[in-house]
């Protein structure tokens, strides 16, 4: 009895452990193969350069856990950068007025899509696809060209660094990303909302029969993803210091890839926010490896990510069929 229960818990954690092992192996290989790779700053840069991916990954994890998908995240990031830049540069708002507004816009955008999905039983894929078109189109309505940000607050936050040990430092964006991971873990494992998300992903009819607030939670999942996208957009604005309609093109696919590599099952109901962090770090370390190598072109990143996705999906299938 004890043994079977142990085995069951183990098999739930296996994808997560696999992800962490892949990250450790890649990091180990990089440290051995390239001089200068094994330094605190290189690893902190993984987080700094992928902070926005990390944040949308948290939102995407909840969406995928609930059995849905959100294709609009990349374009909401672009819209956020664009609105921030236009408000700050053209209308001379202060950053502290602009940031709450863009967060509200992203959250409302997510809530609207969630409501459409839940109320009219529409497919998340198509609704968020339309949302993606809409958000990108709205960017171009504001401006076709890139707007660079020279606002003092934005540049100050963008350059602010928290010094850590031995000269290594971390940016505000990376700190926000870590905070969001913590919030995600807290939401998923200690709140009613988190438990309901897992239940919906496991089986929506069962969740309904259990009397769980399925409708409210479904809308909230997309609302949360919209908020995460807007927050990632704010971080992206700090990172790029510009607003542009072509920012973060295709980032939704990177986010989905990070979630899948992080061990979350696409059929919903199984997965961990913590795994998504490592999914993001794996995507980041592949790029870093390719940059360190120098002889490989950037498109190898995409091919390697595709191959990793393939391997992880194959493993997921193996676990699903065993269960």
């Amino acid at each position: 009895m004890q043994a079977t229960r142990m085995a069951r818990i183990d098999s739930r954690y296996v994808p997560l452990l696999g992800t962490i092992a892949v990250f450790a192996l890649t990091a180990g290989y990089g440290s051995v193969a390239y001089t200068g790779f094994f330094s605190a700053q290189v690893f902190l840069n993984l987080l700094i350069d992928n902070a926005f991916l990390c944040i949308i990954g948290v939102g995407m994890t909840f969406v995928i856990l609930s059995g849905g998908i959100d294709l609009s995240v990349g374009s909401v990031i672009a819209l956020t950068t664009m609105v921030s830049a236009a408000l700050v540069e053209h209308h001379h708002w202060s950053a502290w007025q602009a940031i709450p507004l863009v967060l509200a816009i992203g959250t409302a955008f997510g809530a609207l899509m969630g409501w459409l999905i839940q109320r009219f039983r529409l497919q998340p894929f198509i609704v968020t696809l339309a949302g993606m078109f809409l958000a990108r189109g709205l960017c171009y309505l504001i401006s076709i060209d890139s707007i660079s940000i020279t606002d003092a607050t934005y540049t100050a936050i963008s350059q602010a660094r928290l010094p850590l040990w031995s000269g290594a430092s971390i940016t505000v964006g990376a700190l926000i990303a870590l905070a969001m991971i913590a919030v995600g873990i807290w939401l998923a494992h200690t709140t009613e909302f988190g438990r309901t998300v897992y239940a919906i992903g496991g089986s929506e009819p069962s969740a309904l029969l259990m009397g769980l607030p399925v409708a409210r939670t479904t809308v909230l999942v997309y609302t949360f993803s919209g908020f995460c996208s807007a927050l990632a957009g704010v971080v992206f604005t700090f990172y790029m210091l510009s607003g542009y309609g072509l920012h973060a093109v295709g980032l939704e696919l990177d986010a989905i890839a990070a979630v899948v590599i992080g061990g979350t099952l696409l059929s919903g109901g199984v997965g961990y926010v913590f795994g998504t962090l490592f999914g993001v770090l794996i995507l980041g370390i592949i790029q870093t490896l390719i940059a360190f190598d120098g002889s490989l072109s950037s498109w190898w990143t995409r091919i390697v990510i595709g191959a990793l996705l393939f391997v992880f999906c194959l493993l997921q299938r193996a676990f699903e069929s065993r269960r």
């Binding site: 529409l122 078109f133 809409l134 696409l266 950037s298 190898w300 091919i303 999906c313």
Partner: protein, 348 residues
């Protein structure tokens, strides 16, 4: 007769949308319907729309069958880029003067190059089909793998550059005319007719619908469900490959970075506009062709009424929202509720 009435009913909305768009065009652009006969072929806005819609229609036809089996293929854009890259690389081409006569020389014979590109594209589709039917992955994820990696492969093939083709015979596919009409239109029409015959004259159409409605029941009924699914994905890859050839021939080059970018979304949109539900089952090939024409007409309408082309995406988003709401039974019921509510309240 009843069948015909049904057909007419299902295609009514996409057809009405297209007619409306064409009418808007005609109002804003008086010369819209004018056709000119120049150099032995027809010229005009309508011909232009037909020519430009052909690659999208090809991709949408493949996508229709995939969606009918309850699947989705988001890798078609990458496959378009791969097929274009293979063809452009193998043809290459240069203008050589031989004995005072200018002749075009290609690296490989053009037929070999085209065959190779189509084989590679079909291979991509086969890979997707195997992942979906044999491994049992969700279609969106199975094809996401190729969407991510395929773009990288296309960039790898082209070295991240735009490969220009210097071989005039190849340009016929995307720029040539036959009987006064663009050749690309004939390609799309031929694929449509062949598919239509296959779906209506053989049981294949019924099989595909059966798989889409209930895969387990279809398998229990003795259908080779997996084989058919694999074939459908392979065909979708092949159709994307043909579209890739037409596109690269039209622009006389192959761009691994941008060719076919976001085409998967346009194709899915075309299929949805044509009345095929994403939940699988009943599908309409003619509807998807109409959908492709609607998207292309929409684009040229936006250009012709003089609004900035950037609004295109907002309009597209609005169209998708309207169409999917109209397809939703819950929405129709809600609307009925809003309209009928006073009466119902009175009855209560």
């Amino acid at each position: 007769m009843t069948m015909q009435a049904l057909m007419r009913h299902r295609l009514l909305w996409p057809f009405a949308t297209l007619v409306l768009l064409l009418a808007v065009n005609a109002v804003f652009n008086p010369g819209f319907w004018q056709l000119q006969w120049r150099d032995g072929h027809l010229y005009g806005s309508v011909i232009d729309i037909l020519n430009r819609a052909a690659p999208l229609a090809l991709v949408a036809l493949g996508m229709t069958l995939v969606i009918a089996t309850r699947g989705i293929d988001i890798s078609v854009g990458a496959v378009v880029a791969i097929a274009a890259a293979v063809a452009a690389l193998m043809i290459g081409g240069e203008l050589v003067v031989k004995g005072g006569v200018q002749t075009h020389v290609s690296r490989f014979p053009m037929s070999v190059a085209i065959l190779a590109a189509l084989l590679v594209a079909a291979g991509c589709g086969l890979w997707n089909g195997l992942l979906v039917a044999k491994v049992g992955m969700q279609p969106i994820i199975a094809t996401l793998i190729l969407m991510v990696a395929g773009r990288g492969i296309a960039q790898l093939l082209t070295g991240g550059q735009i490969i220009t083709v210097y071989y005039a015979p190849f340009f016929f596919l995307g720029n040539g005319f036959l009987l006064g009409l663009p050749f690309a239109v004939f390609i799309a029409a031929a694929v449509w007719v062949v598919l239509h015959l296959l779906m209506t004259r053989t049981a294949l159409g019924l099989f595909i619908q059966a798989i889409g409605i209930n895969p387990a029941a279809a398998r229990l009924a003795g259908l080779h469900e997996r084989l058919i699914t694999i074939c459908v994905y392979t065909f979708c890859g092949l159709a994307a490959g043909v579209a890739g050839l037409v596109i690269s021939s039209n622009v006389k080059s192959a761009d691994g970075n941008n060719a076919g970018m976001l085409m998967e979304l346009d194709a899915i949109l075309a299929v949805t506009l044509g009345g095929t539900a994403l939940t699988g089952g009943r599908f309409s090939l003619a509807g998807s062709v109409l959908g492709a024409l609607i998207i292309q007409t929409l684009t040229s309408t936006i250009y012709s009424i003089g609004v900035p082309p950037e609004i295109n995406m907002v309009v597209k988003a609005a169209v998708v929202f309207v169409v999917m709401l109209m397809q939703s039974a819950e929405f129709r019921a809600a609307v009925r509720g809003w309209v009928v509510r006073p009466a119902a309240g009175g009855a209560r």
